[in-house]
Every structure is written in C-alpha cells, then in structure tokens.
C-alpha cells in the first residue's frame, strides 16, 4: 500500500483537520467531534445533514455551505459514522424549522442515522429523513436491501439545499428531496481497486485488462467483470442500464463522476459519448457536471448519473450554492 499519509490511525483525523484549515470560510468542526458544520449557522431554515464513511471526498464535508448542507458527518474510511456523531451534527445545526437527514441506502448508514434521529427526537428536535438509492447496478427488488446510494446523492444535496435555503417547511424540503431521489439514476465502473488504509491491501483485484461494471463506491463488487473495452462501448452498456430503468425523455442533468484516481481527460472522453447517445435518443442535457464528486479513495473509474428535470428542479439546480466543492 503506497499512500501519502502519516499513519492509518490518523487518516480521518488529519483529513478533517486539513479540510477545516483549507476552508475556514465555509466549515468549522464541532469541538470534540468529527462533525463539520457551516461556519455561519443559518437560522430559520430546515437544516440538512448528510454523511457516510470517509474516503468519498469531497463528499460530504465539501458540500457544506450556502445552498447545500448544514452539517456533514464523516465516519471511518468507508464506514458509516456512529449515532453519537450524527446526533452531535443534528444538535449543532438544528433550527426551529427542523432537520432533514440525507442518508445513502446502506444498512449501516440507515441504522446509525436512524438511531441518531431517535436520540434527537428525544430532545425535542424535529428530524426527518430521506434515503438515496440511485445505483441501478444492483437489484432493487423487495428481496434485497434495495439499491445503493451513490453519486446521485450530490444532486440531492444541491437541490434539496436550494429548497431549504428558500425557508420552505420541512415537509416541502423533504418532498423535493424525494422528487430528486425518484428521478436520479447512477451506474459505475472501475478499472482499478482502492485500498482502505487500515486494511492495507486492495478490496479486490482486477486483471491487467479487466474492468468491474456496476461497482459500488466502497469498492463493493458490481454486476460483472469483463475485459476492458473502448470508452464508448462502456458508456453504451452503462447508459443502457440507466435508460432501461427510467424514461428520461426530456431534460436531464448529467454527472460524470470520477472515482478519485481517474484523470479528468478520461471523464471528458466519457462525457463526449454520453452527450451523443442522449441526444440521439431525444434526451436534452440541461446541465453537466464533470469531476470528482463522490469518490472511492484512489479508485480509477467513473459513474454516470442522470437526473430527470422539471422546471422546479431546474430552478433549484441553478440556484446559488457556495461550498468548497460545488459552486453555482
């Protein structure tokens, strides 16, 4: 394992500190916790809290700021944060308008966030939640835990954050979040694995010419493995899966998300074909994001996210946001 770190025990702590030092104008750390909240607490609006394991940077702390999240809770690398930490975040950001938790659909995340929500409710804080499950790679049937929450979560942060910023009541903010969740789909692939620092070795191995299709953001195996193909064919395969899942005819937002180790050049090559395919199918791209938004440490690969837009979602997507990792 070759990493630019000091020790595997200090990775999360020094990452949090380094992030706070980089962006004092945006975030501050709640003392004695790993929780990051807006440098200036905004009253009179629903507060948004999200989080998950570390290793997905800039998610989630990079989205704390005006028009997006009020608090972010990073756990250990690829491990859901614990309830006490989430509870601290809720307490720190709570306003009279209530708190909305944006949870990615993993058993661990859901359990830890819900335990925290219970603790906060016991204190009289109004807390509600939404669960993001945009990954079309996995079976979403009733006989599984459902789809994973992956890069589409960033659209949920952006749009729900814009809605919250308007001062809308909790129920309306939640409704917008659920609208995004209902309309967002993602599919991922990787050509190289990533190594959880404490594990010391990669979570999986890929042959010199292999790729993993449908991989999760924690390096969880995907739908299948096959020999690497030209980028356009990979895009075709991934879009087929996304477009089979939801009718995207009309306007969409596109996110080409890098997994952490992917050069931007390759993401633009991917984007080139994504646009061509969508256009050929009568789907109009209203806005595109290309970059590292929800990563998996140093993994090389990308995900494609499509979000179906109506006028409300367009306006909220375009609304101002000022955070370390996303500005609009």
């Amino acid at each position: 394992m070759k990493k630019i770190i000091n020790s595997v025990e200090l990775v999360e702590e020094q990452m949090i500190e380094g992030l706070c030092k980089a962006y004092p104008q945006y975030v501050k750390r709640v003392e004695g916790t790993n929780v990051l909240v807006r440098a200036d607490k905004k009253e009179g609006k629903v507060a948004l809290v999200s989080g998950g394991g570390s290793g997905h940077e800039p998610a989630h702390a990079g989205y704390v700021g005006k028009g997006m999240l009020d608090g972010a809770v990073p756990g250990a690398v690829f491990t859901s944060p614990t309830p006490d930490q989430v509870y601290e975040a809720i307490k720190a950001v709570a306003t009279d308008a209530g708190v909305l938790l944006i949870i990615k659909n993993y058993t661990g995340d859901v359990m830890n966030f819900e335990m925290a929500a219970d603790m906060a409710r016991d204190e009289g804080i109004e807390v509600d939640e939404v669960i993001v499950n945009d990954d079309v790679a996995v079976d979403g049937s009733l006989y599984t835990v459902g789809r994973r929450g992956v890069a589409g979560t960033v659209f949920v942060h952006k749009i729900t954050g814009a809605k919250a910023e308007t001062g809308a009541p909790l129920a309306e903010v939640k409704a917008v979040a659920e609208k995004v969740i209902a309309n967002v789909r993602t599919m991922s692939m990787a050509i190289s694995p990533c190594t959880v620092p404490a594990a010391g070795k990669p979570g999986f191995e890929l042959g010199e010419d292999e790729m993993e299709i449908g991989i999760g953001i924690h390096g969880e195996p995907g739908t299948h493995r096959e020999a690497i193909r030209p980028a356009d064919e990979i895009v075709d395969m991934m879009l087929d899966k996304i477009l089979a899942d939801l009718d995207f005819t009309g306007d969409v937002a596109v996110m080409i998300n890098g997994c952490g180790g992917t050069p931007l050049m390759e993401m633009f090559i991917v984007n080139n074909h994504v646009h061509d395919v969508l256009e050929s199918k009568g789907i109009h791209v209203y806005k595109t994001l290309v970059g590292d938004y929800m990563t998996s440490l140093e993994m090389q690969g990308f995900s494609i996210t499509l979000l179906k837009l109506d006028d409300e979602l367009k306006a909220l997507l375009d609304a101002p946001a000022d955070t370390p990792a996303l500005k609009a």
Binding site: A76, T79, P83, D84, M111, E220, P221
Partner: protein, 207 residues
C-alpha cells in the same frame, strides 16, 4: 456461574480474539462487502478494553451496557449498531446483577438476538450474523435443557455457530452489503456470522 470479574475477563479475551482475527474478518468482508469488518470490530473492542477498568466493579448489566454503548459509538457501519444493541439489550436483561447463571445467559442471548433483529430486520437464511446467532442460541438451549454443563452448553453453541458459518457459504445474501452481489455472494462465508463465532468461542474458552 459467572460474576462481574469473570465478565470483564471474558470481554478482555474477546478483545484479543477480535484482534487476532481482524485481518481474517476484513478479508472475508473484502470478498463480499467493503473490506472493513475486522477493522470495525477491532476499533470497537479497543475502546471497550480502554473503558473496562472504569466499570469493572459495577454490576454485569452496567458493564454490558457500557460495552454496547462503546461499540455503537466506535464501530460504525452495520456491525456497530447491531453488536452494540445486542450487548446493550443483553445488559438490560441483567441490570443490577453481580453474578449470573446459565438461565440468565440464555435469556441474554434471546435479548441480544431480538435487538439485532429489531435493528437489522433480518431473519434466518439471509447470510448475516443471525445465521450463526440463531442456531447457536437454539443449540445452547437444547443442551441446557438436557442438563449439560456450562462448558458443554457453550461448546454446543460454538459448534452450531460454526455450522451456521458454513451454511452462510451456501446461500445468497439478501441483507447487508453482500446482498448487492446476488448470486456472486455464494461460496463466501459471512463476516458477521464469523465474528459472532469468534466472540462465542472466547466465552466458551473461559470455562
């Protein structure tokens, strides 16, 4: 059968057993999950060990509740809330007691399993820790009903847990992260079922 000092002793040896198996548990999780189960459990039991001196003189219920809270607040992931709740529930069953017997222990197992099922909403056959916990509990109850001694009862539990771990290799995961693999999860044993077996063995070894 077991006083609070022995409980502390057992918790200490659980910590050692988890450390010894951390790499193995993590490797199992790499195959069908996200490569962290042993790391998570080791982080949790490190905190447990650090906090034990502070609660060692207390009643068994208080000790186990503290263990549960430590696990909930340090393990994270799925196993944190699950094991944390299991220990808290088990502790809740024996609040105030400085000594417990086999009946208490079996009732605590019931409570722990109830906690895991309340949180995780899984049943038998979904390739989770329950596939070791449930058969172990049943085997221990049966052995106890036959009047077997403590060590024999625990050995029966360990044997059933181990069989449960083997069974997890044969089934598709429908709960937890391994469920994303569908058919590809077959052939791999469940990390959580394995860590439960490690913990139960640490208990058995104390008798």
């Amino acid at each position: 059968m077991t006083d609070n000092a022995k409980v502390v002793e057992i918790l200490d040896s659980m910590k050692k057993a988890i450390d010894e198996n951390a790499q193995f548990l993590t490797d199992l999780d790499a195959a069908i999950g996200d490569n962290d189960h042993g790391i998570n459990m080791a982080r949790g039991f490190k905190k447990v060990e650090a906090d034990l001196p502070g609660v060692a003189g207390k009643d068994i219920g208080a000790i186990l509740k503290k263990v549960g809270m430590d696990l909930v607040s340090t393990v994270g992931g799925s196993s944190g809330p699950l094991y944390g709740t299991a220990f808290m529930k088990a502790g809740g069953k024996v609040g105030g007691k400085m000594e417990i017997g086999m009946d208490d222990f079996l009732a605590m197992m019931d409570e722990a399993i109830g906690g895991v099922q309340m949180r995780g909403k899984a049943v038998a056959g979904e390739k989770t820790m329950l596939d070791a916990m449930l058969p172990a509990r049943d085997a221990m109850k049966a052995a106890a009903a036959e009047g077997k001694g403590v060590r024999e009862v625990l050995d029966a539990g360990v044997a059933a847990a181990e069989a449960g771990v083997e069974y997890t290799k044969t089934i598709i995961a429908t709960k937890g992260r391994a469920s994303y693999l569908g058919e590809r999860s077959i052939g791999h044993q469940d990390p959580g079922a394995t860590s439960f077996t490690v913990l139960l063995k640490a208990i058995a070894a104390a008798y």
